[in-house]
Every structure is written in C-alpha cells, then in structure tokens.
Subunit: 182 residues, 2 copies
Amino acid sequence: MAMNTRTLCLGILSLKEASGYELKKEIEEGMFRHFIDASFGSIYPALTQMSAEGLLTVRAEEQSGRPDKKVYAITEAGRAALAKGLAVIPARDKYKSEFLFEMLLQHLLNKEQVDLAISKQHADLTEDLGAIMEARAHKGGECNDPGSRFVMGYGECVVRAALGFLEAQCPWLRKNKIKAAE
Amino acid sequence: MAMNTRTLCLGILSLKEASGYELKKEIEEGMFRHFIDASFGSIYPALTQMSAEGLLTVRAEEQSGRPDKKVYAITEAGRAALAKGLAVIPARDKYKSEFLFEMLLQHLLNKEQVDLAISKQHADLTEDLGAIMEARAHKGGECNDPGSRFVMGYGECVVRAALGFLEAQCPWLRKNKIKAAE
DNA sequence: TGATGCATGTAATCCGTTACATGATTCA
DNA sequence: TGAATCATGTAACGGATTACATGCATCA
C-alpha cells in the first residue's frame, strides 16, 4: 500500500470527520489539490469498504430533501492502518505534463499553438498560486500547523519559479498580467 | 486523444526511428523522463497496433543471439495523427506527491521518518538536476533545439527552487551535500 | 557464477475515471 | 427557467502497471 484513495481518505479523516462529498471538496479545494486527485467513483467505494473493515465508523445525519449525509470518522484501527501506510517509504514524485511534451515538440506546431499552450500554463500556475496565497491569508488559523506551512511553502516556491521562467522566456506574458489586473 | 502511450511514441519517433526497447530507454533517460512514464506493457502493444494502422513502418534488424530488433519509423499518416494529438489543448499538469502527503501529515510521524522523507526527496531532486545538467553539457549538440532548451530550462528552474526550499527549511541538508561531495 | 543489459512480448490485475441514475434546493 | 450545489452511489470502460515467459551476451 501507500498512496491510493484509501490512504488519502484516512489521512483527511485523521484531521476531521467528513462525508464523501466533503472529502471530495477538500481534495479539490484544500491543501491536497496540488498533489493528489480522486473522484467520487473511487472515494465512495473506498469509504464503504473501509467501514466494513472497521477502519471507519459511519453516522447518518438526516437532512430534509437530500439523501442522508453519511459522516465518516476514523477508528483506532483506521489510525493504525494510516500509520502503516505512511511508514512506507514514499514513492518518487510523479509529474505528468502535456504542456512540456508539446513544448519539446514545438517545431511541429505553429506559433499560435505554442503561445496558446504557454498562456494556458501561465494561467493555470497563476491560479494555483492564487489558491495558495488565499489559503494562507483567508484561513490563517486552519493552516498554521507545520505540515500545512511546509506544503504551502513548497508549492508557492515551485509555482513561483515556474511562473518566473515562463515570464522570463515570454515577455508578452507580463503585459497580459497587467491587463488582467486592470 | 492526447497524451497516452501512443502519442508519446509517435512524438519520439518523429525525432528518430527506434525500437520498443530504445523508446523505453529514451523515456526513462532522455528529456521525457521528467514529465512522462511508460512501461513495456504499454509500449509494445501500442507499437504493434500503430503499425497495423499504418502510422508506423517496421524493419527487422537481425542480430546474433538476440531476438530481431524491430525498428519503427513514423509514416506520413503517423505524422498527421501526431499533429492531431498535439492540436488538442493540453490537459492541466498532474503532479502526484506522496512526499507532500507525508509532510502534510507529519504530526503523525516521528522526527526520523520526516527527516528520512526529506532526505529522500532532496536526493531525488538532486539526481533530477544532475540529469538535466549532464544532458546540457554532455550532448550539447543533440539538445540545442528550442524545444529541448525550453524543457530543460523549465525543469532546472523548478527543481532548483524545490531544492532551495528544502535546504532553507532544513539546514542539515547542506551538510550532507558537502559530505556527499567529498 | 551471478547480475545486468539487450530484446520482445502476453496476460492478469489494479486502479481509477467517466458516465449514468436520482432528486431537492437555492440563486441568478 | 436553468444552472449550480448538495448528496450518494453503481457500472462500464480504459489505460497502465506488474508479473510472467524466454534467452543470449557481457562484465565483474
């Protein structure tokens, strides 16, 4: 085992209890978003399975008009399983970039396609950076543990470097930036 | 379509002809290694399939003692397919990091585990950086097209930033570095 | 003599995404 | 009125990894 949907859910549930829907939101919008994904199709079955194995408990919260919200909480067995998962030496980071693939083969593209790809990359990175800065500012209280600070710092540093490279290579990106800020 | 094993193979074969084995090596050791992987289990079937579709031609090179080496070359149809693949707006970069997951949950680990994970990350990044620098120095001729320079520059910049962050957070890494250089 | 590199392939299996199915509430 | 959010789940499908199967050459 190591980093599959199960371990991910256990990890979040070790911080706070949550429903499947809330876990998805946390994964998409929280700290995790920069280095993991997961979809409902993998989260819900993982949760059901882990409850059956005694790693989680479920509590159904009634709601008007909606299906009951199933709030999951981690058990002692769950914490043990998580600890075992974390004890595994982490696998090397995996980075997949269609953007860099396109850049490497840029001689096969025309200038517009290259510029478009670069703009898109720049926009994506800018959005990432924005999310980090907002997390730091907005919920300063929630993110003041050493783990969150480390991860945000790492992310900020890497994203800024990438952005800096793109802007150094393509001066026209800076113009767009100013335009966007107007 | 966009970035699957097929497009990847077409991309490399658009630069030079190669066998499945050589493609794997190129993916593991060349420019691509920083942002893609692929295993034999996906490369060989992709190659067979694309030959059948007329995107590639095969030429068997006899060799003593080994199975014939099957050298694949891209056809016009293959170049067209590749162009179509590249025309798709690239998907957002995907970054998966068990390292950052562990760092985020570092309160569940003891100091040795955290330090080990950080050292490993530092070593991995150092290796990546070394590969980039070596590629630049060693085969200066092969990597002087704009695409390679862009990708190497981007990689170098990001990896150095990550390394810088780790070293700023953990001064003891610098000691190790000096030790390693002795 | 044993590991590593060269060389190709297949099959089982895993893991995950996408799409489907359902349905009320709220906001523009 | 239509889109988005809240809320849970299943099933089909895809894509890739892993392990298996084979076997000679070379280097330490």
